[in-house]
């Protein structure tokens, strides 16, 4: 087993508030990668914009820190260009389910072999406390002054309904379990969502560490994660949220498989040279 410290970036200036759940998620991510004997150069952490999305700047590995909401598109492109890379897309709930909502929906359908870790603090952190798509109804913010009126997004149910092949939930308060979920997601071949509850100590006074502790429970071993309808009914539970792998389906072709270009040859695109002679042949075969 590798030492998680190989993923440390000594000069990083961790720009999160003291007590923020993001620190624990970063710790879990390094642990998961180290447990899997990954090297920093084999991994690409892709993110959008937000507090959570700063993660790749706080660790040592390849990274693409792109645009708000677009991490899943970036990550799909990275994986499609080089399926040999381990691709992890991280970001907040606003990033992934709000600005990136359309991409979330379609990435689930596309099933690229990437792991998607969503730091779900039920609020916008970086822009200082506006409601996010997962904010509870009634939550008052500087913008939602009369309280959030929209129904919260249910990311797990959405993912399951749209055919996600791996759906799990974790809580940043439990680093080991979070790391376990991450490992299972990375190992899974296909799109894997881990929605990770994370208290935002600065802007979410409703969903605190204690609230998450009181409103979550660990899934029993009896849960059959290959049962989609059982997974869906667990995902619909909102009184107390189950933690663990809700759904897992192996063997579905990935996006990269469906492109067809890796069927006979798994060489990444950067190592291939285009067949320019074929262009000439095609032109010559035209009338």
């Amino acid at each position: 087993m590798t030492d998680p410290r190989i993923f440390d970036l000594p000069e990083a200036d961790l720009a999160w508030c003291p007590g923020c759940g993001d620190f624990k998620i970063l710790e879990a991510l390094k642990k998961a990668l180290a447990d899997m004997d990954m090297a920093p150069e084999d991994v690409v952490v892709v993110s959008g914009i937000g507090q959570a999305a700063k993660t790749p700047h706080f660790m040592k590995c390849n990274f693409l820190n792109g645009l708000h909401g677009r991490a899943l598109s970036h990550a799909t492109g990275v994986k499609a260009a080089n399926p040999k890379l381990t691709v992890v897309a991280v970001g907040g709930d606003g990033d992934m389910y709000g600005e990136g909502g359309n991409h979330f929906l379609h990435t689930v359908r596309r099933n690229p072999d990437i792991a998607n870790f969503v730091y779900n603090n039920m609020v916008y952190g970086l822009t200082k406390g506006q409601a996010s798509p997962t904010s509870p109804k009634g939550m008052v913010t500087p913008v939602q002054t009369r309280g959030v009126s929209s129904e919260p997004v249910n990311p797990l149910a959405l993912a399951i309904v749209q055919g996600a092949t791996f759906v799990a939930r974790a809580f940043s308060g439990d680093v080991d379990h979070t790391a376990e979920m991450m490992k299972a997601a990375i190992e899974h071949r296909g799109y894997a969502l881990v929605d990770i509850f994370q208290p935002c100590v600065s802007f979410n006074k409703t969903n605190t560490f204690k609230w998450f502790k009181d409103h979550t429970y660990r899934l029993e071993d009896e849960h059959d994660s290959s049962n989609r309808s059982a997974a869906l009914s667990l995902a619909m539970e909102t009184e107390r949220f189950p933690l663990g792998i809700l759904y897992r389906e192996e063997g579905r072709p990935t996006f990269e498989d469906s492109l067809g270009i890796y069927e006979k040859d798994d060489t990444p695109l950067h190592r291939r040279s285009p067949d320019v002679d074929k262009v000439r042949e095609t032109i010559d075969s035209m009338t």
Binding site: V46, F63, T76, H106, L259, G260, H270, T282
Partner: protein, 569 residues
């Protein structure tokens, strides 16, 4: 007969009447029979009905532009629209089935020739053959080779069995006979003499852009369908396995560009193909590619705007969109091919430069150019050997190393032991966010040093005219060949034509020619004179005259000829 040498045929019909098939038969059989062909299509934004047309010029020398003049109008279904009707003159022969079109052409100038297309089609095997008979009619008039027509049907329908081939052949034969019998109805039209065109290839704009991209090293295509850019997406998808292309129709243009940037970061050579509305949505991702210095090629197929504008029509209204694409500041390359050959060569060039300098290239075409086809000499399709210009990274690798020419050695994840960063923020040499005002200036300067290289390593403008010209006519993109033909007809001893092919950055040769000219005249397909304004902003020189067209149709040669004569008094 335009310029006394070529025959201009317009075929009209509703969507579903097979105008495109006529186009295809004529292009291929005529070229194989030794003629030079040029064709361009205009169509309505509907799947059935309406009335569309294609203009085919049949010539003994290469032709490359649209004319108003119609020598032969073949009508497949009633309801020919005003844009065609107003082009009918006393010299036009209209071939149509009176039982289908009725009195529609009673009051026009042209000579009407009743062709019982419906009856003949039924005899040949069904109403669907009317268009094939029409194609035969044209082939008969210009004395095309029957063998070549037979061969065409065999190669096109051979797989569908003998019956289909035979019916097509018989329909075409009926048309051919009729065509031969009425050739004398065109007393003024000397059929063009045949040339040796066997080494030439008939290619349309969509094929030229797509094949040019692949020749330039493109291996990744993402798009969301939008006319007129969709053809390139379809070509890429249909040929993906042959060329090893990753192709995805994504959920929207935002994903198209961002997936392309992700792929580029990881070592792909991507292209997105879109139209104005789609490119507007891509601005943020285009800007990301700019700060991240990931090579990216955008094929921007113009159609009239604002917003949805005229979905299937043509315009040159997006020059500003391309030159100013993205927020913030970063260098980019904007190229505008004017011919089929250039659509190929400049698209390939866009990839070459994108990789050489790690910049973003925009290739601007339009509906007219994409839906135009012509016979071309394959030797004129030029592309350098693709090179992604990658280096293998070592342990201390820094993606954004501040090197003298600004072009940091580029590696990708998995190519060497180094770590490869990529960031949308202002970043340090490793790609990490680091808010430092000196760093910001250093990095911005580094990016703009690459912009200087784009001015030095430029695509020259195409300048043609008499040695001692004093007046310069400027145009860009698809209007080029049309203006060129108009100027040839006008034979002005003091006038040269400059087709600007590298729109941005404006290169030294363009500035020098503008400087030398006593008089500048711009011809472009937009309302605002976007090239004119751009040249003015760069050189300070105002135009003495301009000709602009923004009705949704391309300029015709006659329109430019008349327009220029008026401007020049």
């Amino acid at each position: 007969m335009a310029s006394g040498k070529d025959l201009s045929v317009v075929i009209c019909g509703g969507a579903g009447y097979g105008v495109q098939t006529v186009e295809d038969i004529l292009a291929k059989v005529l070229k194989r029979s030794g003629y030079h062909v040029f064709a361009t299509r205009e169509y309505m934004s509907r799947v059935r009905g309406g009335n569309n047309s294609t203009e085919i010029r049949i010539s003994s020398t290469p032709v490359d532009g649209m004319v108003d003049e119609i020598d032969l109008l073949v009508v497949l279904s009633p309801g020919v629209r005003e844009n065609i009707r107003r082009r009918i003159t006393q010299n036009t022969v209209i071939a149509a089935d009176r039982s289908s079109v009725g009195e529609e052409f009673e009051k026009t100038d042209g000579a009407f020739f009743d062709v019982p297309l419906g009856e003949m089609a039924k005899e040949a095997g069904g109403a669907v053959y009317a268009n094939v008979i029409a194609a035969g009619l044209v082939l008969g008039i210009v004395d095309a080779s029957t063998d070549q027509a037979e061969e065409y049907f065999l190669s096109r329908f051979g797989k569908k069995g003998d019956k289909v081939v035979d019916e097509n052949r018989s329909a075409c034969g009926k048309g051919l006979e009729l065509g031969r019998s009425i050739a004398d109805k065109f007393p003024d039209l000397a059929p063009p003499k045949k040339d040796d065109t066997s080494s030439r290839r008939v290619m349309n704009g969509v094929q030229a852009v797509s094949l040019g991209a692949i020749a330039g090293g493109c291996d990744f295509v993402t798009a969301y369908p939008m006319s007129p850019a969709t053809g390139v997406l379809a070509f890429a998808a249909q040929n993906a396995s042959d060329f090893g292309l990753a192709v995805e129709q994504v959920e929207d243009e935002i994903s198209a560009v961002n997936m392309a940037v992700g792929a580029s970061y990881a070592g792909a050579s991507p292209m997105v193909t879109t139209s104005g509305g789609g490119f507007s949505l891509m601005y943020e991702g285009f800007s990301l590619a700019g700060v991240a210095e990931t090579p990216l090629v955008v094929h921007l197929a113009q159609r009239p705007g604002p917003a949805t504008g005229m979905a299937t029509r043509t315009e040159q209204g997006d020059l500003n969109l391309a030159v100013h694409a993205g927020h913030g500041e970063f260098p980019r390359l904007v190229l505008a091919p004017g011919t089929i050959e250039e659509a190929y060569s400049l698209t390939a060039r866009a990839f070459e430069i994108a990789h050489r300098y790690q910049v973003q290239s925009v290739v601007m075409t339009d509906q007219y150019l994409l839906n135009t086809f012509r016979d071309v000499d394959p030797d004129d399709l030029i592309a350098a050997k693709p090179d992604k210009c990658l280096v293998t990274s070592g342990p201390g690798y820094r993606r954004y190393e501040d090197v003298p020419n600004g072009v940091s050695p580029r590696s990708v994840p998995g190519l060497g032991k180094g770590i490869v960063g990529c960031d949308s923020h202002e970043h340090d040499e490793e790609g990490h966010v680091f808010e430092d005002f000196d760093l910001r200036v250093r990095m911005s300067d580094k990016r703009f040093r690459k912009g200087e290289l784009l001015k030095e390593d430029f695509v020259p403008a195409d300048i043609r005219g008499p040695e001692n010209w004093t007046r310069l006519v400027l145009c860009w993109g698809s209007t080029g060949p049309i203006v060129s033909e108009a100027l040839r007809d006008l034979k002005l001893p003091d006038t040269a034509l400059m087709r600007v092919r590298q729109i941005w950055p404006v290169a030294e040769d363009v500035a020098a020619a503008v400087e030398r000219a006593d008089e500048l005249i711009f011809v472009e397909g937009n309302h605002d004179g976007q090239l004119e304004n751009l040249i003015k902003s760069v050189t300070g020189r105002s135009a003495q005259g301009h000709l602009r067209n923004y009705c949704g149709l391309q300029f015709s040669v006659e329109q430019v000829r008349m327009g220029l004569s008026e401007i020049l008094g």
